[in-house]
Amino acid sequence: MNQSLASNPKQNWRQLAHTLELGFYLKIILILVTYYFFSDFVFDTIPLD
C-alpha cells in the first residue's frame, strides 16, 4: 500500500478525495457561499437601484 502511494501519489489523492466525497462538499460550499452573496444582492441592492 505504502509502496503504491509512493509510486502513484496523484492517483491516490484522487482516490482519497473520491472516498471522502470531497467533490460533493466543495459543491455544497460553493453553492452556499454564492447563494449568500446573490440573495444579499437581490434583496438589498437591486430594489434600491
Partner: protein, 475 residues
C-alpha cells in the same frame, strides 16, 4: 441581470462545435441523471408567487395598477417550464415588484410569509448558473432546499425556547388561547358572537400546553428534514397542520409555506427510491444539521419567540365621508398594504404608553407572565404604567399622514369607476370587515384614527382606553 440571463440562454442554445456549454442549462440536462422532474416543483413555487403578486390589489399609494408588470410576471413564471434560466429572471423581477411595498419604510412591510419561497428560487438560480461548469443532481438542490425550510422552522422553534428564562418556559407558561382572543379583537372570526367566542377561548385554555408542545415539536423538527424520507414527510405534514391550526386560531395564513412543504412531500412520494438513494443518506443528514445550525443568521432570519398576553393596544381607522357619515375602515381596504395594517404597529401616532406588540404579544417573559397573572383592571394599569413605553414620533406620524392622504385621495378618484377588479390570492393575515364598514361608495373626507387598549380578564374583554388620536383631512 438581464444581460447575464441572455448570455446564459445563448450559451445554452447556440449550437457551435466549440460551445462546450450547449444544452447544459436545460431541464433535460438537469433531470437526466436521477429522473426527478424538478421543473414542476420550481414552476409551482414561481406560480405561487406569480399568483400572489400578479393579483395584488390596485396600489392607490402610487396610483398604479402595474398591469404590464403583472402580465410579465405570469409570463416569466410559465417560461420557467421552458428553461430554468427564467427562474432567475422571474425571482429578480418578483423581488422588484414586491419591493414597491417597502415604501414608505415606516410601514415596516413584512416579507416573512414569502421570503422563504424567494430564497428557494434564488438558491435554484445559483444551482442553475453553476450547472454550466459543474454537474449537479436535483437531489443536491432538494437537499439545500430542505436546509432552508428546516432552518426557518428550527429557528422559529429555537426562538421560542430562548424567549423565556428557561427552555421550558414558552411550552409550559405561554397562553396561546390569548392569541385567539386577540385575533378576534383584531377582526378574525368576528361572525361568532362574543359570549360563544369567550367560551371557546376558555376551553382552549386547557389545551395551551399540548398545543405549545406540538408547535415546538414540529418547529424544532425542521432540523430533521433530511434525517429520513418518512420522518421528513411526517415533519412537513405536521408543519402543514400547524399552519392550518394557526390559521383557524388567528387568521394568519402561511399558504405559501404550505404549498412549498407540499411540493417536497410530493417529490418524496413520487420518487421514493431515488430520494432514498441520493437524498436521505447518513452523510446528508449530518451535513444538513451542520448547515442549519451553523447557518443561523445566514439562512434564516426567523424570530417568532414571544408570549401571548391578555392585553392589546391597536388602532382603528374610520372614514368620515362627504355625507358626514362615520364608518369603520376594514384593514383589507388598505391592501396591497394589508400586512402592515393587519399588524397595526403604528405606535408612532400617539404619546400613550404601549405595552404589547401585534395581537397582544410581548417578548419579555417576566412582563408577559405578570400581565397574564393580573386579574383586575387596577393591576393591569399599574403594570402598563411601569413597563409600558411611548414610541411617539411626530415626524413619523406626518409621513404616515402623507401616506394615508395619498392612498385615500387617489382611491376617492375611483369612486363609481373602480380599477380593474382582479380576484386576489389569499391575504397572509385575514381581518374581516365590520358589517357597517366603509365600502368605497362615497369619497372619504377625513380619516380618523382611534387608539384602543383592551384587557381580557379570562371571562370578558374590557376596553381600557378608546380615543381619537389623529384626524387626517383628505385633499
Amino acid at each position: 441581470m438581464l444581460l447575464t440571463c441572455a448570455l446564459l440562454l445563448a450559451l445554452n442554445y447556440v449550437k457551435l462545435e466549440r460551445n462546450p456549454f450547449h444544452g447544459r442549462l436545460s431541464w433535460q440536462h438537469y433531470e437526466a441523471e436521477e429522473g426527478i422532474k424538478i421543473r414542476y416543483a420550481v414552476f409551482l413555487l414561481a406560480l405561487v408567487l406569480a399568483w400572489a403578486f400578479s393579483t395584488n390589489e390596485f396600489n392607490f399609494y402610487y396610483n398604479q395598477g402595474h398591469y404590464l408588470d403583472r402580465l410579465l410576471l405570469v409570463i416569466l413564471a410559465f417560461l420557467v417550464l421552458v428553461n430554468p434560466v427564467f427562474a432567475t429572471l422571474f425571482v429578480v423581477y418578483a423581488v422588484l415588484i414586491v419591493s414597491q411595498y417597502n415604501y414608505p419604510d415606516l410601514l415596516n412591510y413584512s416579507w416573512f410569509d414569502k421570503k422563504l419561497l424567494f430564497k428557494v428560487l434564488l438558491l435554484f438560480s445559483v444551482f442553475n448558473s453553476f450547472s454550466l461548469f459543474v454537474r449537479f443532481r436535483p437531489t443536491h438542490f432538494i437537499f439545500l432546499t430542505l436546509c432552508l425550510i428546516g432552518s426557518d422552522y428550527f429557528f422559529a422553534g429555537m426562538s421560542k425556547l430562548v424567549a423565556g428564562g428557561r427552555v421550558i418556559d414558552w411550552g409550559l407558561k405561554n397562553q396561546v388561547h390569548n392569541l385567539f382572543v386577540s385575533s378576534y379583537i383584531n377582526g378574525w372570526i368576528t361572525f361568532i358572537d362574543r359570549p360563544t367566542l369567550l367560551q371557546i377561548a376558555s376551553g382552549m385554555r386547557l389545551l395551551d400546553i399540548p398545543l405549545q408542545v406540538v408547535t415546538l415539536i414540529f418547529e424544532l423538527g425542521g432540523l430533521l428534514l433530511v434525517a429520513g424520507r418518512r420522518i421528513s414527510i411526517i415533519m412537513l405534514s405536521g408543519a402543514i397542520l400547524l399552519h392550518f391550526g394557526i390559521f383557524l386560531s388567528s387568521g394568519i395564513f402561511f399558504w405559501k409555506w404550505i404549498l412549498l412543504d407540499l411540493s417536497m412531500i410530493v417529490v418524496f412520494l413520487k420518487y421514493p427510491s431515488t430520494v432514498n438513494r441520493f437524498l436521505f443518506t447518513r452523510r446528508n443528514a449530518i451535513l444538513s444539521v451542520l448547515v442549519i445550525v451553523l447557518g443561523h443568521n445566514y439562512l434564516s432570519e426567523t424570530n417568532t419567540g414571544w408570549f401571548d398576553t391578555r392585553v392589546n393596544n391597536f388602532y382603528e381607522f374610520e372614514a368620515i365621508d362627504t355625507n358626514g357619515t362615520i364608518r369603520p375602515i376594514a384593514r383589507g381596504l388598505w391592501a396591497p398594504y394589508d400586512i402592515p395594517f393587519a399588524q397595526d404597529r403604528f405606535f408612532f401616532l400617539n404619546a400613550d404608553k404601549i405595552i404589547a406588540g401585534t395581537y397582544g404579544t410581548h417578548g419579555n417573559v417576566g412582563i408577559a407572565l405578570a400581565l397574564n397573572r393580573a386579574e383586575s383592571v387596577e393591576e393591569i394599569e399599574a403594570l402598563w404604567e411601569e413597563y409600558g413605553g411611548s414610541r411617539y414620533s411626530e415626524s413619523d406620524a406626518r409621513i404616515f399622514d402623507d401616506f394615508v392622504r395619498t392612498f385615500i385621495g387617489n382611491a376617492n378618484e375611483y369612486i363609481g369607476s373602480p380599477p380593474l377588479p382582479i380576484p386576489h390570492a389569499p391575504h397572509h393575515i385575514t381581518s374581516l370587515a365590520q358589517e357597517n364598514a366603509y365600502n368605497s361608495d362615497v369619497p372619504i373626507e377625513t380619516v380618523r384614527i382611534r387608539y384602543v387598549e383592551t384587557f381580557y380578564d379570562g371571562e370578558n374583554i374590557i376596553v381600557l382606553e378608546d380615543k381619537v388620536v389623529r384626524e387626517i383631512k383628505i385633499d
